[in-house]
Symmetry: C2
Subunit: 250 residues, 2 copies
């Protein structure tokens, strides 16, 4: 059975720790966190350390720290076993450990205290050798049904696409909520529409699914909408409507 | 049993016709469409006419035509029964029929050939009298479990909020797909993230759910992302990141 150590105390680390503790196929050997308070809730289930030199031997070290700390943390690992990070936007060769390197990137947005079902989360894995890819595939399969071999360059593209469909989309939800709050209409009325908008593109492409005043070239409705918005909301409304209209003209 | 006539041949009309034909509580009396080809598939189930003067008497006339045609079509209805439109952005008093007026607005994005479950679709209803509101409530309840009393002013706000969470969100999905196609990575990897982004805000607010480089103030990752994008994508990336960052500062 593979022995895994997790380094980090943030959202991804916490979610991975929970998932590996529930997992019968993998041994969670140890948790390293600079601030052990962040992982205190696991102290009865797993060995915890805040000293990277005290790391025990494991088969895979999973670094789930902030992007800028990956180099430093990896350099300090006292083992030649496989070391992977979990970041969407950091290249594999950012790892500074002396031994084998890889990436173990769960493509999902993790929020504290919001339980996730790992079986549906795509894992993008990368390694230097087939043997290590095989090891990461086994690890990923113990958590998820969706494994993709994605190299560092491809992962950069995926990550920026993910910013659009996740971070920016969520910000549009927030603007929708701001408008509703501002005018005292219940935001919950929009929930089924939000769900359907996301579900629809599993059946048809976003291009086919596009509707609305910008798509129809309905400038009267667009002007009416602009009159209801704040300056910042107007800027976003205009640039996105223009982009939808350009797409139509191309 | 209430007798309903539907006027229109587009997406909303087609979806409403299907739903009323399957409905045991309501009689779909007649369909009017300028171009009967658009509703030809219902000719064995319902009386169809392309002459508005040939409209039979009904309890409610539901106008589901383009926003700009609502005035004209309503003016031609030869009855004093209740006439409603189905638009999110048109005021009730745009109706030009001689008798009673109302609004029967299903807040959803309808796409041709994509079946919808009306039971989850919020209906925003409006009328001039309590009696007509009661009639529309009965009609809406025969299709859906979610009924909201929303006046013309409130509906305008809801509609612009819906453009953000539906039309603009779908456009961000399209940009995500464009990036993936451009760089030959499979867009399907992003589907679970898209689903989770939509599902998450049923548990926590969009503001709490916000993550990503703009939220963290991670300008290095943002610059790396900009380098991968087209000019138009860059503009959208910058304006949305700025808006997320401003939100943080306020």
């Amino acid at each position: 059975m593979e022995r895994v150590a997790i380094l980090g105390g943030g959202n991804i680390a916490n979610h991975l720790i929970k998932a590996f503790l529930e997992n019968q196929e993998i041994v969670l050997q140890q948790i390293y966190a600079r601030d052990v308070e962040q992982v205190r809730s696991f102290e009865n289930s797993c060995d915890i350390t805040n000293s990277i030199r005290a790391l025990k031997e494991a088969d895979v070290y999973i670094i789930a720290v902030s992007d800028t700390a990956i180099g430093e943390v990896s350099a300090a690992i006292p083992s030649t076993s496989l070391v992977v990070h979990t970041s969407g936007s950091v290249a594999m060769d950012t790892l500074q450990n002396s031994g084998r390197k890889g990436v173990f990137y769960p493509l999902q947005s993790f929020t504290k205290n919001k339980k996730v079902n790992f079986r549906n989360i795509p894992f993008c894995i990368e390694a230097e050798t087939k043997q290590d890819l095989f090891l990461l595939e086994k690890l990923a399969h113990s958590l998820s049904d969706k494994i993709y071999l994605i190299n560092s360059q491809e992962r950069r593209y995926l990550h920026v696409a993910a910013v659009f469909v996740n971070n920016f989309t969520n910000h549009l939800y927030q603007i929708g909520e701001d408008i509703c709050k501002n005018y005292k209409v219940p935001f919950e009325i929009l929930m089924p529409l939000i769900r359907e908008t996301a579900a629809k593109i599993e059946a048809i492409s976003p291009k086919e699914a596009q509707t609305g005043p910008a798509k129809r070239g309905d400038s009267k409705t667009m002007q009416n909408h602009l009159n209801l918005l704040t300056k910042e909301q107007q800027k976003i409304y205009k640039i996105l409507s223009d982009s939808i209209t350009h797409g139509e003209k191309l």
